[in-house]
Symmetry: D2
Subunit: 284 residues, 4 copies
């Protein structure tokens, strides 16, 4: 049994749903999941389908080509089709904080994540023992002002060689340049330790403490050129009070960061996120 | 433009989605919303569609009949079809507590609820002034052990005469008998002031206090013969601590009850709830 | 039995707690509640006590004077002492939105609020019927650019004549001038319909929609000269998704606004809030 | 500087707070934290203090003896006094699930937990590699029906030899007998994977799925003879829907279990929990 996931978006107009479902039926597919959304402001139609094809001669590549000519062209659709056989490959970028790394590798180990982690990149050696204990290759690529360009070239080479599908910055603490972002548009996931758009930039827990907020948050978003301004994938919050020092906010925040980043990674790896106009559509 | 909402469930099998969407297209409909769910344990397929028909000759009644013969029969579907022109009629049953009543009438007044409230029934006169201030007819039907049967007959007559679609027990504090339940299966919505299935029955806040829970809840569910055991529509919770007395739990609980009941009413009125096997499927 | 609540703050130093508790014991008081907080950044000590005095000759005014000379002077304390006999008087300022007004008056009616509401002020007549139905005097004071100064004088006169203790802007939709703020420092409570400091100013739900946040919030704070930048008393949030239109955010937000404002009002009325350095200490 | 934490409970009566604070002042102590609670139903007074003693000759043992004779006797107080120099020793009991173990050891490593973990006990060998990677001794003590008594003797010996202060069952999956419970009353912390008192006993996620709840929870409590009925320390919940299979509930539950257990451990280790009448008082 072959199973594919289809993501579509296009200008909204009548008969899209019926056209897509008929097309898939004609191709011998059985739809096992369908969900859709219309952005009424932008007048854009979004759809996510999962379809099974029992024919032994089914080929995802062939389906893609008939999908384009037989359907997508008519509606001027942008689309992506994924075979469920191929797990996406995720590169992990870390620095010195270990909580998100432990959390993701723990989930990876327990089979919770539908993806592969070919390697971990870090600008420091601190977390190498953790990578080792999970048997994941660890590349130490130092980043300094002078070395930044060179470092990114090394990163890109590794990413290309391993055919990485998406990148997760698990508290990487470095600003990623346009060179990387352009190669992985809406494919670099960051965790920011505030409830965006509040407290953009460095030291958000310090800013939250200073402002005296009663709730702190964490936000996972795709990285774009503008700092902390990319499409938001997932957010969560927790209560704090006057009795919490900055160190308490940081400790409570770690728990938020772990869960928010893990959820964003799962949504992305399961192809449940679509991006349009710097916002996400998250399918269930 | 005619708009209808279709709710379907049937044994799961291939081609249901394509068959339904094709059928609607053939009938001249444009699907504007589709969502589905498969209960893998029971092997049951659930679907909710909204479809628009631009033809002036469209008739919901005629559509229902061709839907049954041309599609539903083949798949042995159970289905309901609603015209968006007809707002559902809701009867409110209250007793002496006013918070849920104020809340629902405030939302009704502000246009938040897509329904009509032809009348309010109460076994006490206490809340009549509120009904009056919102200009909603108020029927006082006392309920005592001796009068219970007679009272229910009066209630049923009112419900029938006004062609009531569903009933909301807004802290009605009386056990509704099988006579009413049989006439309105999965159409009587109750708000229970605990996080079910914890603390079934009377005085749940007292029980929660005694057990020393750190979180209390409220649950809105359809009324079935078994007390507080019907399909759950919506739940919510809030934190409490050792410092809260029973009276504090009651006060905090009021806020939960209002919001949970209002959400359940909105879901039901917007035909987003399906019931199967004493559980609900809630469409988005 | 006389009961008083004491709020103290001063530079932190040894022996404050023991000095205060001994002083109260010497005066014949029995402490029934004590809570304290030290702001380690600012090195400031905060304390809240409730104490009962059984002596029939007890006078709050006399206690205040000996408290100042016998204790507060030594520690250079800032303090406030309230008799529990006197409920604080709250003025409600509203405009056209009714949800916070209904909510507060419903709680007031049910005895949930430990305060008095001598009157409601509005720049529009729309909500007068609600005030009438709850039997609370309603003053219509129109506010236009030309009339603003005159209107504020009228407001101030009413506030003074009724010896109002604090003001609640229940979606008042007007910017309050420094003239009022100076008379009621940290005594004007506003409800802002966003999770501050995100989305300061007008139309926060529109901004939240545009940014594509996954959680929206509401914030109750004391009004200061800088817009939406005063000390935060209470915040709460709720989840939203891409499927929610701006109108949905507004509807969901109403529920947040009601609860957040009501909580802030209760905290203030129960003398549980202290303000220092544009932040609040909230006692339990 | 010596720092101690004092926990007191006794029958409520006037002057307790002043007596305690005066006593500490007389002994040369400076109170840096004080919090109290009165259970009005049981008429019991609870108090938690932190006090610093600058005298070099201060001895916790001596303070305890004068505290008993000079103060506690008069008020018939039950009390415990802890020196902040001595970190509590926690024994971890695990079985095959690794998520709570990883989580606690990750926090332990990062310095978030104010305690020592002298060893881990397990009835299986599966998690030994994790213990090894964190350099914590791991004792494999198999438990079968026949070996249960023998196994508990081995456990008790280890606990005694290492002067263990409290035990954490991190998804230990075995029922602990009265022999252990009696030795560690209110000192054995369990994590139950439901929102107690709903779904006591085995397979709570299966029961939650069957009941169709919209929210699931986790509960950390002290172990008593009655299954899952001990004093609740901490609870938390998360939303679920009809679309979640049992495996999804289990995965979402893991995140709850980790955080709820970690919070309970921190509260206990920081001596912030008092137990009375099968309920907890949790100080802030």
């Amino acid at each position: 049994m072959n199973k594919i996931t289809i993501l579509i978006h296009c200008k909204d107009r009548p008969k899209i749903i019926a056209s897509v479902t008929s097309f898939i039926a004609e191709q011998g597919g059985n739809i096992v999941y369908i969900d859709q959304h219309v952005d009424r402001e932008q007048d854009i139609f979004f759809m996510r389908l999962e379809s099974e094809f029992s024919s032994e001669s089914f080929s995802t590549e062939h389906f893609k080509s008939v999908f384009e000519t037989g359907l997508a062209k008519t509606f001027e659709m942008k689309w992506r089709i994924y075979s469920s056989e191929k797990k996406p490959k995720m590169a992990l970028f870390v620095s010195k904080y270990d909580h998100c790394l432990y959390d993701l590798l723990g989930r990876y180990n327990s089979g919770e994540l539908n993806l592969e982690i070919p390697f971990i990149i870090s600008n420091h050696l601190d977390l190498k023992p953790i990578a080792d204990s999970f048997n994941i290759p660890f590349y130490h690529i130092p980043v300094t002002k002078e070395l930044k360009d060179e470092a990114e070239n090394q990163q890109l080479e590794l990413l290309k060689n391993h055919r990485i599908d998406f990148i997760v910055l698990a508290r990487y603490m470095q600003i990623v340049s346009g060179k990387l972002i352009d190669q992985y548009p809406n494919k670099i996931i960051n965790i920011h330790h505030s409830f965006l758009p509040a407290f953009v930039g460095a030291k958000p827990y310090h800013s939250a403490f200073k402002r005296g907020v009663k709730i702190i948050g964490a936000t996972s978003h795709y990285v774009t050129e503008e700092l902390d301004a990319g499409p938001i994938i997932e957010q969560d919050v927790t209560r704090v009070s006057h009795s919490h020092a900055i160190s308490d906010l940081i400790a409570k925040g770690r728990d938020l960061e772990k869960i928010v980043l893990a959820n964003a990674v799962k949504l992305h790896a399961n192809r449940k996120v679509m991006v349009f106009n710097n916002k996400t559509v998250i399918f269930s």
